[in-house]
C-alpha cells in the first residue's frame, strides 16, 4: 500500500492515510520478560506516517513542544528518506530523541494541537521521532556537534537526569569545562533508576549519555552534593565559575497510615530501584526483590503503572497485581498508552478506592489493605471532582506486597548546606523560569528540583533555558 501511495503525485493525495499503528508485542509474550513492549516503526510505516503531515506554515505542533523541535522540518526529511538528517534536525533542540520518542506525553503536547488531529487522529510525531533516533543510532551515524573554542570556564552540574544532561551538552558545546556530580553509581537519573527497561531500554539511555562523555564532560559518580562536597566548596575551593542543580525530586511520599511500615510495603522508588538500577530481575545480580502472590500498587500515575507492570513481570504467572486509586479512571494521571498497556497485561484496577490502614501477620509482614470506597463530589482546586469516602464501605483487599506510588519531593542535602538558596514550602528551589537563576549568584537550577515531579521533556526544556543563561552569565 505504501508503495502505491508514494508513486502518486503529491498534489492529488486527497485520499486519507490512517494513522499508522506501531507494532507491539502481545501481552502474553511481553509479560514474561523485561524486553521492550513496543517495537517502533519500520521504514515503510515511517514513510507512510510522515506523509500525513500537512507541513503547516503555522505549525502549532512546534509551539506545543516544550523544546520547540522543528517538527514539520524533521518530518519533511523523513518523507525524503533522509532519516539521519531528520534525527539531526531534532537534535538541534532535543538531545534525547530516542528517549523522548518513547516517554513523552505527545498526546498532551505536539500531537494534541496537530492540525490533522482536528479531523482525524494526529500525526504520530512521537513514533516518528523515535524511529529516526533509533535509525541513526542503529546505523552508527550519531555525530557530534561542533565545539566552540575552550572558554576556560568551569561549570559543576549536580545530578545527571534529563535536565543535567541537556545543560551539560549545551555548555560543552559552548566550550566550557563541565563536571557532572551524580550521587548514584550510574548516570541518567530517573531514566535509569525509575523508568523500566521494557518501556525505555537502558542501552538507549547509555548511548544518548555517551555523547556527553565524548564531548569531554568529566564524570564524578557517587558524589552526593551536600554530603561529599557542598555547593560553597565547589565554588570557593574547587574553582567552579557556575553551578547547575538538576537533582530532581527523589524523596518518596508515603501515606502516613497505620501499618505502613510493615514488611512488604515499599515505595515505588525502592521497588523500581531494586528492579531497574540494581537489576534484581536478572539472575546474576545480587540485590533481591520480593514480589508475592497479591500485589497492590497505590496510585495511578506513570510511576504506579511502571511499578504494577514490573511487579507482574517479576512475580510471574501466579502473581495478581492491582492498582488502588481513590478517583475514577478518566482522572488517572498516567499516560493513556501506559494505562492501556497495563490493562492488556492483566493489571486489575480498584478505582474509587482508598487505603485506610495496613494489616500484618505475626512476622510483621503485610497481608491485607483495609480500604474504603469513594464517590466523586464537587471539583477541587485541581479542577478534578473531589473523592469523598462512602461511610460504612470499608473492605479488605488481600496483599502480601504493597507498592506506594504517590509521588516524590526534593531531598534536602543541598538546601540544608546552602542557606542562601531559597526554597518553597515544598522544598523545591526558587528559580527564575526564564533563566533558571536561583537566589544565589552563579547558581542555576531546573527540572523536577524546581517544578516538583514533572516530565522528561520539561526537565530538558529547563536545562536549555538554564544553559543559555549560564552562557550569558559566564560571558558577562
Amino acid at each position: 500500500m505504501a508503495e502505491e501511495k508514494r508513486s502518486r503525485p503529491p498534489r492529488k493525495k486527497k485520499e486519507r492515510i490512517p494513522r499508522q499503528e506501531m507494532p507491539v508485542r502481545s501481552p502474553e509474550e511481553r509479560n514474561r520478560d523485561f524486553n521492550e513492549v513496543t517495537l517502533g516503526f519500520s521504514e515503510e510505516l515511517a514513510l507512510t506516517e510522515a506523509k500525513r503531515c500537512l507541513q503547516c506554515p503555522t505549525h502549532p505542533c512546534v509551539d506545543g513542544c516544550p523544546v520547540s523541535v522543528d517538527i514539520p522540518g524533521f518530518i519533511h526529511l523523513v518523507t525524503e528518506g533522509d532519516f539521519i538528517g531528520a534525527a539531526q534536525k531534532i537534535k538541534e533542540t532535543n538531545l534525547l530523541p530516542a528517549v523522548c520518542g518513547r516517554v513523552c506525553p505527545q498526546e498532551e503536547q505536539c500531537e494534541q494541537v496537530c492540525v490533522v488531529g482536528k479531523i482525524d487522529q494526529p500525526v504520530a510525531i512521537g513514533r516518528l521521532e523515535r524511529f529516526v533516533a533509533d535509525y541513526e543510532r542503529e546505523h552508527g551515524k550519531v555525530s557530534l556537534p561542533e565545539i566552540a573554542p575552550k572558554s576556560g570556564k568551569k561549570v559543576a552540574v549536580i545530578g545527571s537526569g534529563p535536565a543535567s544532561i541537556t545543560v551539560s551538552y549545551e555548555l560543552l558545546q559552548a566550550g566550557h569545562q563541565v563536571t557532572i556530580y551524580e550521587a548514584l553509581h550510574e548516570l541518567g537519573g530517573v531514566l535509569v533508576y525509575g523508568i523500566p527497561e521494557f518501556r525505555l531500554p537502558k542501552s538507549i539511555v547509555a548511548s544518548e549519555i555517551d555523547t556527553i562523555k565524548k564531548l569531554g564532560a568529566e564524570i564524578k559518580l557517587n558524589m552526593l552534593i551536600g554530603k561529599t562536597r557542598t555547593i560553597d566548596q565547589l565554588m570557593e575551593e574547587d574553582g567552579f565559575d557556575a553551578v547547575f542543580i538538576g537533582t530532581g525530586a527523589g524523596l518518596p511520599v508515603f501515606l502516613n497510615l497505620p501499618g505502613e511500615n510493615l514488611n512488604g510495603i515499599s515505595s515505588a522508588n525502592e521497588f523500581l530501584t531494586r528492579v531497574n538500577l540494581m537489576k534484581a530481575y536478572r539472575e546474576e545480580y545480587v540485590t533481591p526483590v520480593k514480589v508475592g502472590k497479591k500485589v497492590a500498587v497505590i496510585g495511578a500515575g506513570n510511576v504506579a503503572m511502571d511499578s504494577a507492570r514490573s511487579a507482574k513481570r517479576v512475580g510471574g504467572d501466579g502473581t495478581e497485581v492491582s492498582i488502588i486509586y481513590r478517583r475514577a479512571r478518566d482522572q488517572m494521571p498516567a499516560r493513556e498508552e501506559e494505562i492501556h498497556h497495563a490493562e492488556e497485561e492483566g493489571i486489575i484496577f480498584n478505582l474509587l478506592t482508598n487505603p485506610v490502614r495496613f494489616i500484618g501477620d505475626e512476622k510483621n509482614n503485610v497481608t491485607q489493605v483495609e480500604c474504603i470506597k469513594m464517590e466523586l463530589g464537587e471539583p477541587d482546586d485541581s479542577g478534578r471532582r473531589r473523592p469523598i469516602p462512602i461511610e460504612g464501605s470499608e473492605h479488605i483487599i488481600e496483599a502480601d506486597t504493597v507498592i506506594v506510588a504517590l509521588g516524590t519531593r526534593p531531598r534536602k542535602f543541598i538546601a540544608e548546606t546552602t542557606p542562601d538558596l531559597k526554597t518553597s514550602k515544598w522544598g523545591t528551589f526558587l528559580a527564575d523560569e526564564e533563566t533558571g537563576q536561583t537566589s544565589k549568584q552563579g547558581v542555576f537550577a531546573g527540572g523536577d528540583i524546581v517544578t516538583g515531579s514533572a516530565t522528561v521533556i520539561k526537565a530538558m526544556g529547563a536545562g536549555r533555558v538554564a544553559a543559555k543563561a549560564i552562557n550569558e552569565y559566564l560571558a558577562g
Binding site: N222, T228, N269, V286, P288, R411, F413
Partner: protein, 280 residues
C-alpha cells in the same frame, strides 16, 4: 575505582579494610557511613567509617561475614578494587561534653562505636566503654578502644574472656553501684540495643542507638530504611543512623531484618554450590 590498600583479619569472619576514598576521608565525621558496591553485579552495602587517614586518602571499614555480599567482600585482598564508594552518609554523632558517657558495643557494632568513643573522649567526656562479643575470639578493637576510653570493660557471652554476660547487664551493674551516668551510646545487635534501652529507660538516662537498617541507595531516595521512632517514621540513612533508643521500635527493625532471609539463604546456597547450578 577504590583500591584496598590494607587488609587485616581481626577475628574469624571479621575483616578490616583500608580503602582509597580521598573525598570521603576529607568530609567524614564520626557516626557516618558509606554505601559501597563491590562490582557491577553486587548489592549496595552500607558500612560505617571506622577511621580515616587524610594523608593517604583512605577510610577504614570493618566487615563481618554475615551474608552473601559481606561474605564475598571478606574475600577481597589488598590491591583489589571496589567499584563504588559513596559517602559520607547519615548525620554525624552529636558530640558534646555530656560528662560521663557509657558506650556499649556488641560484636561488629564495636566498629561503629570506635570513632564515636574517640570523638566523645576528644570532646572532654569521661568515657566508660563496654566491649562485648560472643567469645574471646570474636572480640575486636580491644586495644584501640582501650586507648581512647577512661575505662574499658570486656564482656563475653560464654565467659571466655572478661566478664561473663551481656553489656546491658554490666551497664545495670554500673547504675546499681551508683555511678552517675549522663549519656549512653549503644551499638550492636538490635536485641542488645533494645536491652540497653530498657536498662536506661527507668533512670531516664539519654540513650542513643545506631541502627543498621536495610538500605539501598543510602541517600533518602527509596525509604527502604524506614524506622519508627516514637510516633514518627524516619529514614535511617538521612535522619540517622543514630536515634533516641527510648523511642525506636526495635521489634519492627528485627522483623525487617528477617524479611529477606529466604533470599539470603538462596544466595548462600549459591556460594556453597560454587555458583554452579543456581536455583532461586
Amino acid at each position: 575505582m577504590h583500591k584496598i590498600t590494607r587488609k587485616r583479619v581481626l577475628a574469624p569472619k571479621i575483616t578490616r579494610f583500608s580503602v582509597e576514598a580521598p573525598e570521603v576521608a576529607r568530609a567524614r565525621k564520626p557516626g557516618q557511613f558509606v554505601v559501597i558496591r563491590a562490582d557491577e553485579t553486587s548489592e549496595r552495602v552500607p558500612l560505617t567509617i571506622v577511621d580515616s587517614d587524610l594523608e593517604k586518602g583512605t577510610i577504614d571499614l570493618i566487615i563481618q561475614d554475615a551474608g552473601f555480599s559481606t561474605h564475598v567482600l571478606s574475600g577481597y585482598e589488598e590491591g583489589d578494587e571496589l567499584t563504588d564508594v559513596l559517602g559520607p552518609l547519615g548525620k554525624p554523632t552529636h558530640m558534646d561534653n555530656f560528662g560521663t558517657v557509657v558506650c556499649v558495643g556488641g560484636g561488629v557494632g564495636t566498629a561503629v562505636l570506635y570513632p564515636i568513643v574517640k570523638g566523645l573522649k576528644e570532646a572532654g567526656n569521661t568515657v566508660i566503654t563496654i566491649n562485648g562479643a560472643r567469645n574471646k575470639e570474636l572480640l575486636i578493637l580491644e586495644e584501640e578502644l582501650g586507648a581512647v576510653s577512661d575505662e574499658l570493660i570486656i564482656t563475653t557471652d560464654d565467659g571466655s574472656y572478661g566478664i561473663k554476660g551481656f553489656g546491658s547487664t554490666v551497664l545495670q551493674g554500673l547504675i546499681d553501684e551508683g555511678k552517675k551516668i549522663d549519656f549512653v551510646v549503644a551499638i550492636g545487635p538490635t536485641m542488645m540495643m533494645k536491652a540497653v534501652a530498657e536498662v536506661t529507660r527507668p533512670y531516664e538516662i539519654p540513650t542513643i542507638a545506631s541502627l543498621n537498617a536495610i538500605m539501598i541507595d543510602g541517600t533518602g531516595m527509596c525509604g527502604g530504611c524506614r524506622v519508627t521512632v516514637g510516633d514518627e517514621v524516619k529514614f535511617a540513612c538521612v535522619d540517622g543512623p543514630e536515634f533516641d533508643a527510648h523511642l525506636v521500635d526495635f521489634d519492627e527493625q528485627i522483623a525487617k531484618h528477617h524479611y529477606y532471609d529466604t533470599e539470603q539463604a538462596c544466595q548462600m546456597e549459591k556460594i556453597i554450590a560454587d555458583a554452579e547450578q543456581e536455583r532461586s
